[in-house]
Structure formats: C-alpha cells, structure tokens
C-alpha cells in the first residue's frame, strides 16, 4: 500500500513538470529566440557568420567610437554612431555577405534558412 502511495505521489510530482515542458514556448520565449545580436566592436562583426531562420530579426549594435554602416547587396543600414543599433527582419532566404562600407575590409556573412 505504501509503495502504491509512493508511486502515486511521485507521479503527481512529475506530471506538472511534464505538462509544463510540453507546453509551447511563451510569446516572450519565441521573441527572444528570434532576435539575434551582432556586435560591431574592435572593427569586427561579432559573430562574423550568423545563421538565422527566415522571419528572425537581426540587430547590429555599434560599440566602437567611430561610425559604422552595414551594407549588403540586399540591405543597408543607416550610419551607426557609438551605441546605436539597427535591426533587420529577414524575409528572403540565402547567404548574404556584407561589409561596413566605411571600412570595407570589415566583412561578415548572414545566412537565412
């Protein structure tokens, strides 16, 4: 009898956890998952290669003291001063190489799946 009660108690204690795990991610979690950050620091894009899903948003933030600008064939930011960000909601799938047009040797890649 004691064994049955123990099993019952264990089942009740595990069940809520399982239910929670099976629930879809909250809106907040989804939003977090879909925003990717690229730091522009030390005259580099970090990460230099970023892979995202179509529909995700990528946010570039300039941490350098000089302005930078994100430029690809298909997208272009405004000039970003220190501390400023620019975001892009991805739509088209593909591999997009981009540079800072102000410092053309700064190169990186965005892959949209």
């Amino acid at each position: 009898m004691k064994r049955r009660v123990a099993i019952l108690l264990v089942s009740f204690s595990i069940l809520p956890a399982l239910v929670v795990r099976c629930q879809p991610a909250s809106a907040d979690e989804n939003a977090q998952r879909r925003i990717h950050h690229v730091a522009i620091k030390g005259f580099k894009f970090d990460p230099e290669k970023l892979e995202v899903e179509a529909g995700d948003t990528v946010v570039w933030t300039n941490e350098d003291i000089v302005p930078h600008i994100v430029v690809a064939d298909k997208f272009k930011s405004r000039s970003l001063d220190q501390g400023e960000s620019w975001s892009l909601k991805t739509k088209q799938k593909g591999n997009f190489s981009y540079i800072c047009k102000f410092h053309p040797t700064m190169k990186a890649e965005l892959i949209v799946n």
């Binding site: 005259f43 302005p67 053309p104």
Partner: protein, 181 residues
Amino acid sequence: MKRLKAIATIGSMALGLAVLPAVTKAQAPNDAQIVGIVLAADQIDIDYGKIALKKSKDKAVREFAQRMVTDHSAVQKSVIELAGKLGVKEEVSPTSSGLKSGAADITAKLNGLKGKEFDKFYIDNEVSYHKTVTDAVNAVLIPSAQNSELKAALQGAQPLFLKHLEHARSVQSGQGGAMAH
C-alpha cells in the same frame, strides 16, 4: 623629374615620421605627452583628409579621405574626453613637435600637387603614416602609458589604425600600387 621629386618627398616624409618609432624607452613619453602625440597625429590626418576632399575628384580617394576626417575626429573627441576625465593636460614633446613639422612639409607638397599625382601622393602618404603610427602605438605609446585607462584606450584604437592601413593599401592597389616604398 616630377616622379623623382615625388619619391624624394615621400622619402623626407618617411624620415619625418621616423620621429615616432625613434622614441626609445629612455625617452618614453609620459601620459600627458602621449595625449599630445595622439591628438597631434589625429589632427594631422584630419587636415590631410580635408585637403584631399577639396582637391581630389577620385571617388575611392574621396571616400577614404572622408573616413579619415570622420574617424580621427571621433578618436580625437574620445581622447579629449578621457584626458579630461583623468585630469591629464596634453603636453608638447619632441615627438609631437616632430610630427607637426613633418606634417607642414607634407601639407605644402599636397597643396602643390593636383589630379592623379595628388591622389597618388596622398594615398602613399596615408599608407606610410598609418603604418608608422600603428608601429609607434604598439612599440612606444602602449608600453609607456602609465594610466590603465589610457593604455586600454590606446589598445582599443589599434584596430582602427590597422583598418585604415588596410583601406589605404586597398585604394593604393586600385591606383596601380605605391610610387616608392
């Protein structure tokens, strides 16, 4: 003859810039002098860039020159702010004076050239200038800096000088390479 003159001027410019790496450990600049050297070096390149924006019609040269004016102005502002925060007042040193007198010769040369000769001399000078400044910051200014924030700022500025050097070399190769180096 014109080419020989340009080569001679580049040679004298390189000698002028040699002032920076010539600073030995025994003559290591103090923090106030380092601030003076960095501000002088920034101002010199801003002034060269402004001349190029007035005189050059070449798109790549103009873009590079605009970048030098914008970036070095930002660095200058940041150095002035940091010096103010640290209570360091810029000091004149043989190095900053040497830089300024070397720059006067280059400025005179830039003002006397036009067209492709101007573009070539400006970009060749920028390659040499950034190479020398990068080496000097690494070999002299960073090791000499006493204040940790100043040292960190100099270390943080290294990628900027390197990127400018790469950019200048890229414009130079588009012009068909350096005149004499």
